[in-house]
């Protein structure tokens, strides 16, 4: 099989999966499928699937709208309706889209929710977001599952019990009522084993950045890789097949000694290996990425690809403890880790993937990530003596992406990294 064809196989699979989901959503009213709006961090995909529901992820719609240059108009619409300039732009993009007829990013109409499942993990805005949606969709049933924060850097039995009791008493009965389907634990267990398989594969995939040159970019391309596992396909055979195919393609790249694929083809020389903290900017995603690959910078690990689950430290869904495992999953997402845990995880990435530098992309409207980032950065700098860089942008509001500002900052940062490399090389000769 040619290189091109191998590259396309996983992409085609992903495209088919996503298109299939949006088609199913567009036809939900005719097919009678129930629709569940929920969020990526702490998403209970396996449970949604157990009840044969279709998931809608508002933040995925928002970021896809941004990539298609539709978010600015939606944000304005929300601001015309009393939404502040200074809050999470995902919320405003979503509200604006709804006010303008709820046409999804693919151009197909999105069905209203039958159930709003708020697995409230790692961010208070999720709660406010669903309070807003609840008022817009009065007929939807709202289910909240409160995910305790890992305040002490651990998941205690009491935390698990609290979540399991919520699942048993609130979430499952409500999902049964909405779907008309009885909870089938055996079915859930089967789904969870597939989740575990997908999680094994994605961990292997993100581990390939240990190679030099790194065969993938774990941030800019990473956001595509996490798509299936985060948006409802975790627990499906399709997702496992997708990750297997992707892994195969990456292995081939390693065999050939190739660097990551970028929108402009293969990255030639790997000059800098970086770890990035914070979500990317979506409105100018390509331009943003280009600044990096033009400079020969590859991202070998990122925190953002862990928002839908941290699998790097060995945690997996466990079919033998289905509900406990769902609870632990929710509590183990990146934004539900406390600041010292985040620092430890990022430090591990820097060490394991032999990064030359650490960059923070601070998102104006996301306190869940941004509050504390400067302190984390300083600690990482002190602990590992790694050069750190800092840029600011926003998720889906194009007003806050300043290309020249970001480019200037990054160029100076890369210059500094280059000089450091020269000094190091000279010192070790």
């Amino acid at each position: 099989m040619s290189k091109e064809a191998q590259k396309e196989q996983s992409m085609i699979l992903q495209k088919e999966m996503v298109e299939g989901l949006f088609n199913e959503l567009a036809a939900a009213r005719e097919t009678g499928k129930k629709v569940c709006y929920t969020f990526v961090p702490g998403n209970l995909s396996e449970l949604i699937r157990t009840f044969d529901m279709l998931p809608v992820y508002p933040e995925i719609n928002a970021l896809q709208n941004a990539m298609r240059k539709k978010s600015a108009a939606y944000i304005k619409e929300a601001e015309r309706n009393a939404h502040s300039e200074d809050v999470c732009t995902y919320v405003k993009c979503d509200v604006g889209m709804m006010l303008k007829g709820n046409i999804g990013p693919t151009g197909q109409p999105l069905p209203p929710p039958d159930i709003l499942l708020l697995s409230y993990t790692g961010c208070f805005t999720f709660m406010k977001w669903f309070e807003t949606l609840k008022r817009e969709y009065p007929n939807a049933r709202v289910v909240m599952i409160h995910t305790p924060y890992q305040e002490n850097g651990e998941i205690t039995p009491a935390m698990v019990e609290y979540m399991v009791r919520q699942l048993k008493t609130e979430v499952i009965p409500q999902m049964e009522a909405v779907s008309g389907i009885r909870y089938d634990e055996e079915k859930l267990k089967g789904i969870l084993s597939l989740s575990k398989e997908a999680e094994d594969w994605i961990t292997r995939i993100f581990n390939t950045t240990k190679h030099r040159p790194s065969p993938i970019d774990a941030y800019f391309a990473g956001v595509y890789y996490i798509g299936p596992i985060n948006i409802g396909f975790r627990g499906t055979r399709e997702a496992v097949d997708y990750y297997k195919a992707l892994y195969g393609e990456i292995q081939e790249r390693i065999r050939l000694g190739l660097g990551p694929i970028t929108p402009e083809g293969e990255m030639q020389e790997e000059k800098f290996r970086l770890v990035v903290e914070g979500p990317p900017n979506w409105t100018n995603f390509r331009e943003f990425w280009k600044i990096f690959y033009d400079m020969g910078a590859v991202i070998v690990a990122s925190s953002y690809t862990k928002v839908g689950g941290v699998y790097d430290l060995g945690w997996r869904h466990d079919p033998s403890r289905p509900l406990e495992s769902l609870a632990e999953y929710c509590m183990n997402c990146y934004t539900n880790l406390n600041i010292p845990q985040r620092i430890d995880l990022l430090s591990k990435f820097i060490r394991d993937y032999e990064a030359d530098g650490y960059i923070t992309n601070s998102i104006k409207s996301c306190n869940s990530f941004s509050a504390g980032q400067l302190s984390m950065m300083r600690e990482i700098e002190d602990r590992l003596e790694v050069p750190v860089g800092f840029i600011e942008s926003d998720l889906v509001d194009p007003r806050y992406f300043s290309y020249s500002n970001i480019k200037n900052r990054l160029e100076s940062y890369f210059q500094m990294l280059a000089q450091r490399k020269i000094i190091h090389a000279t010192a070790t000769v």
């Binding site: 309706n81 009393a82 939404h83 502040s84 200074d86 809050v87 999470c88 919320v91 708020l118 409230y120 961010c123 208070f124 805005t125 709660m127 406010k128 977001w129 309070e131 807003t132 609840k134 008022r135 709202v142 909240m144 599952i145 409160h146 305790p148 924060y149 305040e151 009491a158 609290y162 009791r165 919520q166 008493t169 609130e170 406390n338 600041i339 010292p340 985040r342 620092i343 601070s362 104006k364 409207s365 306190n367 869940s368 941004s370 509050a371 504390g372 980032q373 400067l374 302190s375 984390m376 600690e379 600011e392």
Partner: protein, 396 residues
């Protein structure tokens, strides 16, 4: 009058003593005493009292603390309070605090707890997760576990066990405290000129930094004084202030609202001190359960409590109606997610209900209020012009 003035002066001094001297002195007065700082909004102070400690409210540095180091920790688009709290800690103004509790209110406070942990500030740092599940056997049980954790952390310092008796005693003291505070609100509802909002604010805030017994004594005296017919009524409209529950506006802004023609008859400035409405049962053998139950069933609405079964817009509308207020002032700290994300919910509902409101943002360290004062002035004038409209029509 003289006594009241002296009380207010004392409270003013206590409320803005950013060295928290009263807590320091109190701790030095006897062995085994611990001081536990808590951030907004609400924290069950009773449990600290019962364990031989004193819970002290930390509401930032306001316009009285110049922030130098704290700014290096926070991007410009994050609210001001975490930087001034950090500044107080880094300047060692809270060195006599044994531990810090960060109630779950928003991502900023949550992550600030992580910075305190990272910097090893205090003997313990506890992020306290309040339940968002309101079933006593689930959310209530979880909440009790959280309180037990705090008690465990205190016990590790002073070896003191909180007993059912000491908890019930503490509950009684805070019940009394809450009742006295509500009495003042009730009196002010009818006679707001007897005690200005600014004066009341000093009294309320002082209560977060001194022993509850002392605060109760102060409140009793205030109640006694303002039951008398003092002061002179002015031609002002009555308003409720909402949204200012965490980062506090500078005192000049609190004053400016009343100077611009409004009597503030209810507010959420010191929401934590009033979070529980009514009494908590003080005679059970399971006092933690009683505290948890009160939180689940008797809390005021708050931007950090999921309101699925009890929409907040109707609860605020009820406060407006019950207090006989003419409108609402939505005051949010700049970049305050919980407050700002609630704003469209309130405002869209109030547009429908015909409740008048204005909205503005402030920052604790800014004390220039010319524009806000003009805005509030115009608001109160517009209400006066509508005065003849019957309340029923407005609230319909």
């Amino acid at each position: 009058m003289e006594v009241l003035k002296a009380i207010i002066q004392r409270c003013k001094h206590l409320a803005f003593d950013l060295n928290f001297s009263r807590a320091k002195d109190w701790k030095a007065e006897a062995k085994g005493r611990v001081v536990v700082g808590y951030m907004p909004i609400y924290f069950p102070r009773e449990i600290v009292h019962a364990a031989g400690g004193m819970a002290v409210g930390i509401f930032g540095g306001g316009d009285r603390k110049q922030v130098v180091k704290g700014d290096a920790y926070y991007q410009s688009y994050i609210c001001h309070i975490p930087r001034s709290i950090l500044e107080l800690a880094l300047d060692k103004q809270m060195d006599h605090f044994d531990g810090f509790v960060f109630p779950s209110i928003c991502d900023v406070i949550r992550n600030l707890s992580g910075i305190f942990k990272q910097k090893k500030i205090g003997k313990f740092v506890k992020y306290m997760d309040f339940p968002q599940n309101f079933l006593p056997e689930i959310g209530g049980a979880f909440y009790q576990e959280e309180m037990r954790h705090v008690l465990h952390l205190i016990r590790e310092i002073n070896g003191r066990e909180a007993t059912a008796a000491s908890l019930n005693h503490a509950i009684r003291l805070y019940n009394h405290n809450r009742r006295l505070i509500e009495t003042i609100y009730d009196i002010r509802q009818e006679y707001p000129w007897r005690l200005s909002m600014e004066e009341f604010y000093y009294i309320l805030r002082a209560g977060t930094v001194i022993p509850v017994e002392e605060h109760n004594a102060i409140l009793e005296q205030v109640c006694e004084r303002i039951r008398k017919d003092i002061g002179t009524p002015q031609d002002k409209v009555k308003v409720v202030v909402s949204g200012a529950f965490c980062e506090q506006p500078a005192i000049g802004l609190i004053r400016a609202i009343e100077e611009a023609g409004c009597y503030v008859v209810d507010d959420d400035y010191m929401l934590g001190s009033r979070m529980i409405t009514g009494d908590i049962a003080d005679d059970t053998d399971k006092p933690l359960e009683a505290i948890a139950h009160a939180y689940l069933t008797q809390s005021r609405y708050s931007s950090s409590i999921y309101d699925v079964n009890d929409p907040k817009e109707y609860r605020l509308a009820k406060i407006v109606r019950d207090r006989g207020a003419d409108g609402v002032i939505f005051a949010s700290a700049s970049f305050c997610d919980p407050s700002l994300l609630d704003a469209p919910i309130f405002q869209n509902a109030f547009n429908r209900m015909g409740i008048r409101y204005i909205a503005f943002q402030y920052s604790e360290n800014i004390n220039q209020f010319k524009v806000i004062k003009e805005q509030v002035g115009a608001f109160s004038d517009s209400i006066k012009l509508w005065e003849d409209e019957p309340a029923e029509a407005i609230y319909a």
